[in-house]
C-alpha cells in the first residue's frame, strides 16, 4: 500500500466540483488501504499578475517526504497544483487556468490585450506544458479536458470520469413541478438564462437553486432579474444543502437545468442521470455533452432563454417524455459502469506510476 498526497487547490469560501473530487478521491484511496492526505494551497485569481507567484509557490513545495515519511506518489488536480515537484507525479486534470486557454477572448476571461497580459498568458502556457509533461501519468476528468490538453499543450491524456460522490444513494421519486439547478453561482454556469426563461414557462413551475454565489455582484444580478419579472414566488435559493436534502431534491425534480459554457465535466449531469432525471443542457456546454444526448436522455438546446423555456415547457406538458428521458439517462450511466466500478478505473490509472 502506498503513501499518497493529493494536491488540491482551494478557492477560499467556495465549494465546487474540485473540492468534491479531492475529498472523494481521498476517501476511495483510503478505502483501498492507502495512506492518503491532501496538500491544499489557497488560490486567488486576482490580481492576475500574482498567478506566476502562486505557481512558483507550488513549485517550491517539496513533497517527496513529509514528517519523515516518504511520499510514494502525488496526484495533482488543477492549476497550479501540478507545479509541485515529485518523481512520481500523476495528474488528474480538472483544468488549467482557463482564462488563458479556452476562455481567452470571452467575457469569462480577464486576460486583456495588454502586452503584460499576453506575456502572462504565454508564460503560463509554456510552464504548464513543461510541468504537465513531467507527469508519469496524465489524465483528465473528461474528454473536453483531455482535448484541451492535447490541443493547447500537445500532451495526450486518458479520460477518467469522476464518479458521482454519493455512489449508489441516488434515487428517483415522482416528479414535482420544479426544475433543479445545482452548482456554484457564477456567470459561466448561466443560471441567468434559466431565470430569464421562467416568465414564459408555465407559471406553476418553480426553480430551486442549490449553490452559493462565488462572484461579486452575481446575486444582485439574479435578484434584479427576479424582481423585474415578479418571480420570487417561483424561485428558491437554497444555498448549500446536506447530502440527504440534495438527494431528495434530485429525486423529486422534473428535470435538472445544467447549461454552463464549455464545462470541464459537470458532476451535476451524472447526479441528475443517476437520479433518473433528464438534463436540460446547451449545445456549447462542453463536458456535459459527453453524457447528455438530446431526445435520448435530455434536451440540448441553444444557450438562450427562449430555447430553454421551450425545452422546459415540453417536459412540463409531456411528463411521460421527461420520465423516459430520465430513465434513459440512468441506463446510460449504468452501461458506462461509472457508479459501479468507476473508481476502480480512476485509481488504477492514477496509481499506475507506482508499478514502474
Amino acid at each position: 500500500m502506498a503513501t499518497i498526497l493529493v494536491l488540491g487547490v482551494k478557492i477560499p469560501f467556495t465549494l465546487g466540483g474540485q473540492d468534491v473530487l479531492v475529498s472523494s478521491l481521498c476517501r476511495e484511496l483510503r478505502s483501498r488501504g492507502h495512506t492518503v492526505d491532501t496538500v491544499e494551497l489557497p488560490l486567488s485569481l486576482l490580481p492576475k499578475e500574482g498567478l506566476l507567484n502562486q505557481a512558483a509557490l507550488w513549485r517550491t513545495i517539496n513533497v517527496t517526504s513529509c514528517g519523515g515519511r516518504a511520499v510514494d506518489l502525488v496526484i495533482a488536480t488543477k492549476f497550479p497544483s501540478y507545479f509541485a515537484r515529485h518523481l512520481r507525479k500523476s495528474v488528474w486534470l480538472v483544468h488549467q487556468h482557463r482564462a488563458a486557454y479556452d476562455l481567452y477572448g470571452t467575457r469569462y476571461s480577464d486576460i486583456s490585450d495588454d502586452p503584460r497580459d499576453e506575456e502572462l498568458r504565454r508564460m503560463l502556457f509554456a510552464a504548464d506544458t513543461k510541468v504537465l509533461g513531467e507527469c508519469a501519468f496524465v489524465s483528465g476528468i473528461s474528454k473536453n479536458v483531455t482535448d484541451r490538453l492535447a490541443h493547447y499543450n500537445g500532451i495526450s491524456g486518458e479520460v477518467l470520469y469522476p464518479p458521482p460522490s454519493m455512489g449508489n444513494r441516488y434515487k428517483c421519486e415522482p416528479a414535482e413541478d420544479y426544475i433543479l439547478s445545482v452548482g456554484r453561482l457564477c456567470a459561466i454556469k448561466r443560471l441567468d438564462l434559466m431565470i430569464k426563461a421562467l416568465p414564459v414557462i408555465h407559471n406553476f413551475v418553480k426553480l430551486k437553486i442549490v449553490g452559493a454565489p462565488d462572484e461579486p455582484g452575481i446575486m444582485d444580478y439574479y435578484k434584479n432579474e427576479i424582481d423585474k419579472h415578479h418571480l420570487w414566488p417561483r424561485v428558491e435559493f437554497l444555498e448549500r444543502v446536506d447530502d440527504e436534502t440534495l438527494l431528495r431534491l434530485y429525486a423529486r425534480c422534473l428535470a435538472v437545468y445544467y447549461a454552463p459554457h464549455n464545462e470541464d465535466y459537470g458532476y451535476v449531469t451524472l447526479e441528475a442521470m443517476a437520479s433518473h432525471k433528464p438534463v436540460i443542457a446547451a449545445n456549447d456546454s462542453g463536458g456535459v455533452l459527453e453524457f447528455v444526448r438530446t431526445e435520448e436522455n435530455g434536451l440540448v438546446v441553444a444557450p438562450d432563454s427562449n430555447a430553454i423555456s421551450a425545452a422546459v415547457n415540453r417536459l412540463v406538458e409531456n411528463k411521460e417524455k421527461a420520465r423516459e428521458l430520465g430513465a434513459n439517462g440512468r441506463r446510460a450511466i449504468d452501461k458506462l459502469g461509472i457508479l459501479e466500478n468507476g473508481w476502480d478505473r480512476v485509481v488504477k490509472g492514477l496509481l499506475s506510476p507506482l508499478d514502474s
Binding site: E49, T60, D110, S112, D113, E119, K130, D147
Partner: protein, 446 residues
C-alpha cells in the same frame, strides 16, 4: 525566417467551417484569396478551432505565439468584420500587430469584456514612447463605442473592402501604431474579390425574376421592397435567399404583404447566391444602416451583369450612379423601388450589363484583387517588419514590467518581521532564495 525564399505569412480569419462561417465575408474571402497567396507566401492559417482547412497548415490561434517563436512569421494578416466569428481576430490583432482587412469599421458587437476594458491607447502610446507609463491595472478603460478605433489603432497596415469603412478610418483614428512615413500610405481600399465564373453568367433570357438576399430585418428594407412589389403592375417572380433560422420570420413578412410568387432558398451564403444568379434578372441589395454592407453579394451581382438596386446610404453611397440604381431612403422609398422595378420589368428583355461587368472587372476581379493584396503586402513588408521588431521590444518591456509587478505583489504589505521574535525568514530573502530560482527555471525573465 523564410521558407524557400517566400515570406512567412500568418493568416487569421474565420473560415467556412466555423460556426456561422458560411455567411461570413472573411471566410468567403479566405476561400478565394488563399490559393493565390499560397503561390507567393509560405502560409499558415489560424482560426478558432482545431480542425484543418483545405490543404493549408491550420492551427488554433492561441498557438500562434509559440509557432512564431519557433519559426518567426514575417507578416501577420487579419480579417475583421462585425460578426461573432471574428471575435478571436479582434482579440488577437491586439497581441501581434499586422495587416488588417476590415470588412466593417462600425461594430454593433462591442466584443467581450477584455476588449471593452482594453488599455490599447496606453499600449500605442508606449509603443511610440518608452517613457509613457503602462496602463494602470486599477482603472477601467471604457471603450464602448461602435467605431473600431482599437482595431484601427492597432493595425500596422489597414485595408478596407468598402470605401465608407476606409473613410471612417481616415476620419477617426488618431492613436495608431503607424504614422505616415515619406508619404507612404499605410491604409488602402481593397475591394472584395469575386469568382471569375460570375463574369461568365449568360444574360440571354428574361424571366422577370427578382433576386433578393436581405435579412428579414428593418435595415434590409424588406418591408419597403415588398410594399413596392405589391404595387407592381408587371408580373414577376421573386427568389429570396434566406438563412434557415429566419424562415418563419420571412414567411410572416411575405404573408403580411401578400407576396405569393416567391421561392425561398435557404443557406444564405455567397456560394448559394452565385448559384442563383443565372436565374435572376434584377438584383435588389437595399440596406439602410450605419452597420454592415452588402458584402460579396452585390459585387457578384454586378459581375454577372445584373441591374442592381441599392440604397443611397452607407457603403453603397460610394458606388457610381452609372453602375447601380440608387434609391433614396425615406418616405418615398417604396415608390422609388416600384418605379425602378416597373421600368426594368417593362423592358421585357435581359439587361445588357456591360457597364456593371466592366465596373466589377475593374474592382472585383479575383486575380486583380489577389495581385493587389500581394503587391501591398510585399511592398510594405519592410515597414511591417519594423513595426514587428518594435513590438518585440515592447513585449520584452511588458515581460519586464510583469515580473516587476509579480515581485512587488509578493513583497507588498509584508510586515517587517525583522524585529519580531517569530520571524524566521524574511520575505525578500524567501523571494531571492526560493521564488527567483523557479522563475529562472521557467525562463520567466527578460
Amino acid at each position: 525566417m523564410k521558407h524557400d525564399s517566400k515570406l512567412r505569412l500568418a493568416w487569421f480569419s474565420p473560415l467556412p467551417h466555423d460556426e456561422g462561417g458560411a455567411s461570413c465575408t472573411s471566410a468567403y474571402v479566405s476561400s478565394l484569396l488563399l490559393p493565390f497567396l499560397a503561390k507567393h507566401f509560405a502560409l499558415e492559417v489560424f482560426c478558432n478551432n482545431f480542425s484543418s482547412f483545405a490543404d493549408y497548415t491550420t492551427h488554433h490561434h492561441l498557438t500562434a505565439f509559440q509557432r512564431h517563436k519557433d519559426n518567426p512569421f514575417d507578416l501577420f494578416f487579419y480579417q475583421l468584420e462585425d460578426h461573432i466569428s471574428s471575435r478571436f481576430v479582434r482579440m488577437y490583432l491586439g497581441c501581434m500587430p499586422g495587416a488588417v482587412l476590415f470588412h466593417d469599421f462600425i461594430f454593433c458587437d462591442h466584443g467581450p469584456e477584455p476588449m471593452l476594458n482594453s488599455s490599447w491607447r496606453e499600449t500605442v502610446a508606449r509603443f511610440h514612447d518608452e517613457s509613457h507609463a503602462w496602463a494602470s491595472r486599477e482603472v477601467r478603460h471604457q471603450n464602448a463605442g461602435a467605431l473600431a478605433l482599437r482595431e484601427g489603432g492597432l493595425s500596422a497596415l489597414a485595408l478596407f473592402s468598402n470605401e465608407r469603412a476606409h473613410a471612417e478610418y481616415k476620419r477617426s483614428v488618431e492613436h495608431s501604431l503607424i504614422k505616415p512615413h515619406n508619404g507612404d500610405a499605410m491604409s488602402f481600399f481593397l475591394p472584395l474579390p469575386v469568382p471569375e465564373s460570375c463574369f461568365d453568367i449568360d444574360r440571354g433570357g428574361f424571366s422577370a425574376t427578382l433576386g433578393y438576399c436581405g435579412l428579414p430585418r428593418i435595415e434590409y428594407r424588406a418591408h419597403k421592397f415588398f410594399s413596392a412589389l405589391k404595387a407592381l403592375k408587371e408580373p414577376y417572380k421573386l427568389i429570396w435567399l434566406i438563412e434557415e433560422g429566419d424562415r418563419q420570420a420571412c414567411l410572416e413578412l411575405l404573408r403580411e404583404f401578400g407576396i405569393s410568387s416567391v421561392e425561398l432558398v435557404a443557406g444564405r451564403s455567397a456560394q448559394k447566391w452565385q448559384e442563383i444568379l443565372p436565374r435572376i434578372d434584377i438584383a435588389v441589395h437595399t440596406l439602410f444602416s450605419v452597420y454592415g454592407s452588402p458584402g460579396p453579394y452585390l459585387a457578384m451581382s454586378l459581375a454577372s451583369g445584373a441591374p442592381c438596386i441599392v440604397t443611397n446610404f452607407g457603403a453603397t453611397e460610394y458606388l457610381p450612379e452609372s453602375v447601380v440604381f440608387k434609391i433614396e431612403p425615406g418616405d418615398t422609398e417604396s415608390l422609388q423601388l416600384c418605379q425602378v422595378l416597373q421600368r426594368l420589368l417593362a423592358r421585357g428583355i435581359a439587361w445588357e450589363g456591360d457597364l456593371q461587368r466592366e465596373y466589377a472587372r475593374e474592382q472585383h476581379y479575383l486575380p486583380g484583387v489577389a495581385g493587389q493584396l500581394v503587391s501591398v503586402l510585399k511592398g510594405r513588408a519592410g515597414r511591417l517588419n519594423s513595426v514587428m521588431q518594435r513590438w518585440k521590444e515592447l513585449e520584452r518591456d511588458a515581460r519586464r514590467e510583469l515580473l516587476r509587478e509579480s515581485r512587488e505583489l509578493f513583497l507588498k504589505g509584508e510586515p517587517d518581521l525583522g524585529a519580531s521574535e517569530c520571524a524566521f525568514i524574511e520575505p525578500k530573502q524567501f523571494w531571492a532564495k526560493s521564488i527567483e530560482p523557479i522563475f529562472e527555471e521557467f525562463s520567466w525573465k527578460v
